[in-house]
């Protein structure tokens, strides 16, 4: 049976990180997964956790209830959204009093959270649902010889006790996907370091320093590029790379791509359709097909 998911876009991807959304919409359906656009979603709530955790829980439950109304499982390509939705399920499944309280408020919008539906992220959707063999079948232009670092993003790895898309200390799924595309994945000591984005709201300079430090380490190790799978991480590593370089007094020029962009290139899709002109890091250095 063809797999079908509600695409839960969140905030950052559909309002500025368009390359992620474009590349997801180009690649995932070709791999036999139907993506359904659903009206009425809101923020997942995760960015508000420091302000009011109950608000986070309510917003997540509301979004899950909308998916439930359409009898759909959820694909959340953002690591923050994926954590908020998964954690919400975990809390509501264990705390029936809280579930009752949330549901009594959701009722005003004609919504209810009752069943725990599947919530996937890009990494486990590709690795566990689509599968490496199927990805290999769709590779038309193997990216042989490229040496690339994977950045997972904290929120898809931890906390493992609620179930995350990959191992918290030694994740390998992105590397395995990269190998299927012909890429040589490169391990590096800073692999689990944070991108800094969660501090963007109140300590932007420090946030960019984290970004700069990680990119600098990658550059010094002679790794050709980095792939990421979260619009927040990408905003830091790609969109703000020049600024991040200023905070560590380095001229950074590390090409940064979404995993789905690289996947699309290997599948023979044009750079334009994958939004590669929107990457602000020097992706043209990789000389991938039509990318200028």
């Amino acid at each position: 049976m063809k797999k079908k998911y509600a695409l839960f876009p969140g905030c950052l991807m559909p309002t500025e990180q368009y390359a992620y959304e474009l590349s997801i919409r180009e690649t995932i359906p070709l791999l036999g997964v139907e993506l359904v656009d659903v009206e009425g979603f809101s923020c997942c709530g995760e960015p508000m956790k420091s302000v009011n955790q109950l608000l986070t829980l309510y917003l997540s439950a509301r979004n899950l209830a909308i998916a439930e109304k359409h009898h759909l499982d959820v694909f959340a390509p953002c690591a923050m959204c994926h954590l908020a939705l998964t954690e919400c399920q975990h809390i509501l499944e264990e705390n029936s009093a809280m579930k009752g309280r949330i549901n009594s408020t959701l009722a005003a919008e004609g919504l209810q959270y009752t069943v725990k539906r599947q919530v996937v992220h890009t990494v486990d959707l590709l690795y566990d649902q689509v599968g490496i063999e199927k990805i290999k079948e769709h590779v038309k232009k193997p990216l042989n010889g490229l040496r690339i670092a994977a950045h997972y993003g904290c929120h898809i790895l931890r906390p493992s006790e609620i179930g995350r898309p990959d191992d918290s200390e030694n994740p390998q799924k992105i590397e395995t996907i990269l190998k299927a595309l012909g890429v040589e994945p490169v391990g590096y000591p800073q692999k689990l370091d944070c991108c800094g984005a969660p501090l963007l709201a109140n300590l932007p300079e420090s946030a960019l320093t984290k970004t700069g430090q990680k990119l600098q380490a990658i550059q010094e190790q002679g790794i050709q590029a980095m792939v990421d799978v979260c619009p927040w991480c990408h905003k830091m590593f790609d969109s703000r790379q020049t600024k991040a370089g200023e905070t560590v007094a380095a001229k950074l020029d590390v090409p940064v791509l979404y995993l789905t962009q690289l996947l699309g290139i290997a599948m023979g899709i044009t750079g334009e359709k994958l939004g590669l002109e929107l990457n602000l890091s020097p992706v043209e250095k990789l000389q991938l097909g039509d990318v200028k």
């Binding site: 368009y18 919409r25 923020c43 420091s50 302000v51 009011n52 309280r101 501090l199």
Partner: protein, 175 residues
């Protein structure tokens, strides 16, 4: 209705503050007791390397009941929520959760919310997302918006009044 209602010391907030204090008392009584100060949390802390956050000390201060001092300190706002402390704690103490509770109490007691959190919250209340559609720039300096890239309309709450009412209810009602 405004963000003031959600975050100020206004009357309806009493219940929220009580709930938050109960949550912290629970963390203090039941969870921080397990901490034996191995500092594994601090050794892996992303904010420690850069901003000198020391999660094991946060737990120790909480255990000693120094809640006001913690709530009024800027250091609680340096956590990057990388979740490594929660993952690696051998005693399942989860300093990151203690920090979230402390920040929530700081907000509920009317302390100024730092940085862009207020703006994001206002945006969620008015249209459901932390920001509306932004213009983006290509490497060749063309400016583009969502619709010009052929992407479908943004998914956001349809009845904003009802959406807001839900948020206000959940954030302020009695437990």
């Amino acid at each position: 209705m405004s963000i003031i209602d959600l975050t100020s010391m206004g009357e309806p907030q009493t219940d929220l503050k009580k709930e938050l204090n109960d949550r912290l008392t629970k963390l203090q009584d039941e969870i921080s007791d397990y901490c034996f100060q191995c500092a594994k949390c601090t050794s892996g802390c992303e904010a420690h390397k850069l901003l000198e956050l020391e999660p094991h000390k946060i737990v120790a201060l909480l255990k000693r009941g120094l809640i006001n001092e913690l709530v009024n300190s800027d250091v609680i706002w340096t956590c990057m929520t990388c979740l490594k402390c929660r993952e690696r704690c051998p005693q399942r103490v989860a300093p990151v959760e203690i920090l979230f509770a402390l920040k929530n109490i700081a907000v509920a007691s009317g302390k100024q919310i730092p940085g862009k959190y207020t703006g994001m919250l206002q945006s969620i209340l008015s249209m459901g997302l932390i920001q509306d559609i932004q213009q983006t720039t290509t490497r060749t300096n063309k400016t583009l918006k969502r619709d010009e890239l052929g992407l479908p309309p943004l998914s956001k709450p349809i009845d904003v009044a009802k959406f807001q009412a839900g948020i206000m209810k959940i954030a302020m009602e009695k437990v």
